[in-house]
Symmetry: C2
Subunit: 396 residues, 2 copies
């Protein structure tokens, strides 16, 4: 007998995947360069050359045992220290290696964070719009994900609804800033207020409410945007990072958990991550990738293209009368559809080979997500398609 929970999941079609497959299929008919595929958050800029050069040099310099041999399940000690040093230098923190756990990307990091601070039945709150994979990440650890309704005015936090939803079972709050799918960056004011609420509610409830901060887009912030380092503002923060977007290496599956040293149990929690790993078959990232990342902590791929694409799209959407909040980072933009049913809107877009994702599964019906990690030239051409789409379907 197969596990019925996982068997049942097979019939849940992921809308992003379905639309992405449509785009690829359509590309086979008219050439993929003519499909304005805004479905996937797959970094389009190449890895920094220094990353590849690190790998080649490591192969020449390190012994087989040092390079490919067993690493501690918490991650390679020198790599963990290098991550701590880089965070300290950049954000004025005081991490040591004992606050860092190397993970299989942000998904691996969140899998550990959730298991650290919940037992089955506990609740984790997140804010709409949110990354739909949070559902399996949290539910399959036995915890319950509760979604605070969006503040559609500026996509900062809806504090009123949030405070009402915190209860005895709330063990953690999960945020994602810069945000997938809205592209919004939480301001210092938002993070400060969030920290105040968490402190007050922790005291009131008699247990710590942890802040799990999912930060794969941390390095993709646009000019002039206020982007605070979340862990500075709340002691009990578990930072979950991935190098996928900043270094354009999503296939290499590497990230980390960083626990604020001011959190009373910080070091114990990192050692607990090693125990959690044993039960879920996680281990740690590939050793050669750990070493290469450690040498490239302060570089990024050429992520400037994302801001350029964002500005093009933001201007066009605004001009065409879309309601849209200007993104502060990421490679997503999140306009309101031109009719109430975003699924119907995206369906109509297909006729113009303009492939967007309706945001129902992101907890924000009526909105659409565009992932603009594509060539700028294609963004420019897509705007012509969008113009025709809007004019012919909505008379604008």
């Amino acid at each position: 007998m197969l596990n019925p929970q996982y068997e049942a999941m097979l019939s849940n079609k992921n809308i992003i995947r379905v639309l992405s497959e449509f785009a690829v299929q359509r590309g086979k008919e008219i050439g993929y360069e003519n499909v304005f595929d805004y479905t996937l958050g797959n970094p389009s800029v190449p890895v920094p050359d220094s990353f590849n050069q690190s790998i080649i040099r490591l192969i020449g310099e390190k012994s087989s045992m040092d390079l490919h041999g067993y690493s501690q399940s918490l991650g390679i000690a020198e790599v963990r220290q290098a991550v701590a040093d880089s965070l300290n230098k950049r954000f004025g923190m005081n991490y040591t290696k004992d606050n860092i756990f190397m993970s299989i990307g942000a998904a691996g990091a969140i899998a550990h964070a959730v298991r650290l601070v919940t037992v089955p039945g506990d609740e984790i709150l997140t804010f709409a719009p949110f990354f739909p994979e949070y559902n399996p990440y949290i539910n399959m650890a036995g915890a319950v994900l509760k979604v605070v309704p969006p503040n559609t005015e500026d996509f900062q936090i809806n504090f009123e609804a949030f405070e009402q939803m915190i209860g005895l079972k709330t063990m953690a709050v999960l945020i994602n800033t810069p945000n997938n799918p809205s592209g919004i960056v939480y301001s210092t004011k938002t993070i400060q207020r969030l920290a105040e609420v968490l402190k007050a509610k922790s005291e009131e409830l008699g247990h710590t409410i942890y802040l799990i901060s999912d930060e794969p887009y941390r390095e993709i912030v646009f000019s002039g945007v206020d982007a605070p380092f979340v862990s500075r503002y709340y002691d009990n923060t578990i930072c979950c990072y991935s190098f996928s977007k900043s270094l354009s290496v999503p296939g290499e599956r590497i990230g980390y958990v960083a626990i604020n040293p001011a959190c009373p149990d910080a070091e114990k929690m990192i050692v607990m991550c090693g125990q959690i790993s044993r039960g879920i078959g996680h281990n740690c990232p590939a050793s050669i990738i750990q070493w290469a990342v450690a040498e490239n902590l302060d570089v990024t791929a050429d992520i400037s293209v994302y801001e350029k694409n964002m500005n093009l799209l933001y201007d066009a959407l605004t001009e065409l009368g879309f309601e849209v909040v200007k993104p502060g980072g990421t490679f997503y933009i999140f306009p309101k559809a031109l009719e109430e049913d975003a699924v119907a809107f995206c369906e109509k877009g297909k006729k113009y080979d303009f492939i967007a994702v309706p945001a129902d599964s992101f907890g924000c019906p009526g909105y659409i997500r565009l992932s603009y990690c594509i060539e700028t030239e294609k963004v420019e051409r897509s705007i012509e398609a969008l113009r025709r789409f809007v004019k012919e379907e909505y008379g604008r």
Copy 2:
């Protein structure tokens, strides 16, 4: 509040780790070359040069997107097909890529296998002596590990005890051949009889009993030893493999699940692995490592040193009057201690800088495990230490 289950695990000291740390510490006093450290199963021979050359060539040849970009969570399709082709050629099977799921080593593979075929409360049987990490692998998925007592005569299966222990809750049997810690390889006769029992009992109970075959030592088999490919003998076999030992790349954390195409649900189960991955933050191995492994499926590190070491140790142990079954593979040997309490025996060995692991946690009290993945020259010197140890402590 931290999860009490994982917190409690922190106080369980792993005996292998404790002894290994002792050996390293002692090495700082007298030079590690003088410590006969038989604690860890950490491959000592270097990676085949072709593996490193593959990585360097891939960096030159593949685009950043192809090499480092997102891969499917089941693994890269071409890599899965290459694994299938290699298994088919070598073992006369007929796998396709749809029977292969790329995993984070054998630990990742087993994490998926257990979740595929059990729900919480179900039982999995294994045979003593067994790898103690099976406990967290299985218990933390909510299933229950039951251990069939050993057949200490030849460390093949104790079928009498086994058949009595199979019950309504038995959903899978987990075997490890070549075996850690005994070094024994299950014979064709053993595997055939195991298959017969599983078929008969599945019919009797009205549900399939799956065979989970943990095969990280599959390529390390000594000359003249009968080492059947388990999946050929039982349709409902889930093969869990790791490249750690065969390619000497344990730090790169790569392996796979291969489900026999004759298993009625084979392809569905592979897709289910992708769903399981979402819940445990597993994803898949690093893409560059997947590509490199695909080019090195039919090579191994120079594993001949392990047979040489085994013969030296087997002859010495036998000569010194130890009860010991000759290993057929791996880099472990598993003699009976010279007193009933193997922990006391190993404690005495420390005086002679001869560091062995008592097998209580392997489900076989009174025995000790020696991991001889060390230099042959050191094995030779260790035999002198063993002679003194046995003479001075036991008068032999």
